[in-house]
Symmetry: C2
Subunit: 492 residues, 2 copies
Amino acid sequence: MSKKLTSRTQDYSKWYNELVVKADLAENSAVRGCMVIKPYGFAIWEKMQAELDRMFKETGHQNAYFPLFIPKSLFEAEEKNAEGFAKECAVVTHYRLQNDPDKPGKLRVDPEAKLEEELVVRPTSEAIIWNTYKNWIQSYRDLPILINQWANVVRWEMRTRLFLRTAEFLWQEGHTAHETKGEALAEAELMNNVYAIFVENFMAIPVIKGLKTESERFAGADETYCIEALMQDGKALQAGTSHYLGQNFARAFDVKYVNKEGKQDYVWATSWGVSTRLMGALIMTHSDDNGLVLPPNLAPNQVVIIPIYKNEEQLEEISNVANGIMKELKSKSISVKYDSRDTFRPGAKFAQHELQGVPLRIVIGPKDLENNTVELARRDTLTKSIVALENLAETIESLLNQIQKEMFQKALDFRDAHITNVETFDEFKEILDTKGGFISAHWDGTSETEDRIKEQTKATIRCIPLDNIEESGLCVYSKKPSKRRVLFAKAY
Amino acid sequence: MSKKLTSRTQDYSKWYNELVVKADLAENSAVRGCMVIKPYGFAIWEKMQAELDRMFKETGHQNAYFPLFIPKSLFEAEEKNAEGFAKECAVVTHYRLQNDPDKPGKLRVDPEAKLEEELVVRPTSEAIIWNTYKNWIQSYRDLPILINQWANVVRWEMRTRLFLRTAEFLWQEGHTAHETKGEALAEAELMNNVYAIFVENFMAIPVIKGLKTESERFAGADETYCIEALMQDGKALQAGTSHYLGQNFARAFDVKYVNKEGKQDYVWATSWGVSTRLMGALIMTHSDDNGLVLPPNLAPNQVVIIPIYKNEEQLEEISNVANGIMKELKSKSISVKYDSRDTFRPGAKFAQHELQGVPLRIVIGPKDLENNTVELARRDTLTKSIVALENLAETIESLLNQIQKEMFQKALDFRDAHITNVETFDEFKEILDTKGGFISAHWDGTSETEDRIKEQTKATIRCIPLDNIEESGLCVYSKKPSKRRVLFAKAY
């Protein structure tokens, strides 16, 4: 059905782009920078959504929906946030098209239907949401507000790549309001932890939890928590962020509450989000030169059954066996597809399911009928074995659990092997050019040093890890004293 | 917590607006015509989504996601569709803001960041989707394509009302591609039936299935199936539509396939959608002067338990009983909330849960502790009874089923009592002005007659019911011969 993928060593970036398209995950659209998420890719995203949504609700959050548009006057109210996003805003200026008098059959913007105030298509929703919260909050009894929204957002990026950086993307954005600084900080850290648990346990991707430096923070935040993952090419990917917004938005939108002592104060805020970018992280962490490798938790089909037969009679016998297996698997909530299409040969089916990352493949042929066996192939290790039909569902259930764990362990081993402590800037540059990955180095805490390192190496500080131990040292660049190491890397 | 609602007889429209806001379903936002869907309203919408999504998947559909924006040149490709929506399009013309040189701290559209081609914010997605399908379809093997999308859409309506007509709304839109006309027609009818089953069984709202007349059809459709419901004020509400699009979009976007005989033909299409408008139908079908009345299937909390106590000791005893009830209800997947807030008096809690339409209220007081009973109150009938604690979960389970059925029956009786056969235009006008509801009348089949009736009465043909029997008669307006009755009504 498709030629082989470019290999990762040959051209990692090309491998990624080809894989996304050939595995039917997504494709570019007629709109610059906007993608079409195809049914197979969307089914994976739906599984992520369902699990995250469950976790959000379990931690006391409710969903709601706020407008797509932000009037310019609200958008500019929180200055840093506005400044951070102004350069990549899609702006609605008119509300009507009309027939173009010069071009029959064509339309043009109706010059008389110009909006009095331009509307920004939300790049993030703090402004419209805090303008709304203003009316919802009077006293401490109205707090906390713990709301999440699943939505599309638009950031007019100049260089786009499917899932990793697109002009429109899908995400969730949590927006919470609290009585105290402590509560807001705790919420921001809690949600960063929720993300870490989700990405590690569900997506089988190890992450490092940390804080962003000031220059890498979300525009309008006082502190940004993040989870950072490592891709197979040695580049880091920010998988999720959770922002402590202090009272910045409360001040910008004048959101005050009366506390238990009857005093007025501005409300404390957080916001946090993950996006379809996680699809990129998923692909680049686990996949190989044969295509996608999906952890069982995220696979739309966890098992595929393929019959090999020479005549109708054999097919019927095999189908009977397959139906029995499917029934048992479904009773264990394992998703399974029987691929008995007669328009494709087995080899083509193998290739397709391999490309699409189905974790387990069962092949049933005439020999298997005789021996009461099936052939079981693992997508992640590309290993095959002959397995008894008896207790097959139990075998598969435990194998799927094992795959989920082993995929995480493999990614963790790779990640841990790619964290390198360096002491000098020469070492820094050498490691970055040869091995890549995270570089753990002392930093003097200044933006100047951060900027220079970035200019000279393209590496940025991915995070100040939360679990770092205090350790005296000298900045890898300026040689000034430093109290802890931070993680540098080139990043997506 | 809130003053009484305006009554329905006093001012139906005001009653609706107040109810939506006071029951915490939605509110107007700072963006003209766009609403904020609040957590309680969104929880109801999520229940609708989950059930519809399940039904779509059961009928073989998959979800996907297409861009928010439609380049103008694609938007105008299908002429009728473009003409139908051009007047209400939000149009993105620029992709950047900059500091306004004349107004410090303010932003303005960057005149140098004008898009070469304007982008229409999707009012519906046929254009962008058929432009995509073009690349997905070569032969009959690629068909059918059965895709649904959950999305936000924007139609710049001049007069808006929460849920019923908003500039931005949430919906799902199915877009399918088929080999034959027969298949496409069958799909359009199937999905209209799915909508009917959902709205009747899940929302407890009776509907009439029918076809739209040519002038009421979706712009670009050859036939529009619909389901029509009747609101308590005697006005009709279109609850869902399913369009047979013929080959119109295939021709506009040049989407051809090679059939089994090796011949090329244009692909046949359908599209179908329901939206957050259904929330309006839900509210206006069942609610009363005390507030929202929710069918158990859609209630975020199906049961609320309220303790009445004089001291901490009593509260503790009541809480023990309540916890036991909750455990049993949850094991039956019945959602329940224990409202033990000490910041509100019981009366205020009763009013709030009544306003928010919780189907069943359990009150536990000191007397109940003595007698092993609880007080059970139905929201739909406003009736109360003392019920034994023994087997309470079973009692509640069957009562919830009963409420669901009785709410449907009540709405059906009302609807059926408001379908009036008329033979003369005087009768037509009189019924419309006095009783309202659906008027079943003969019609000569011409748009002229339809238009004149609309001009003179504001009533439109809601549908040509699918189950109508052929019956000779004379058009209620023109007195020309007619073969069947159609349903007229004033409509939302």
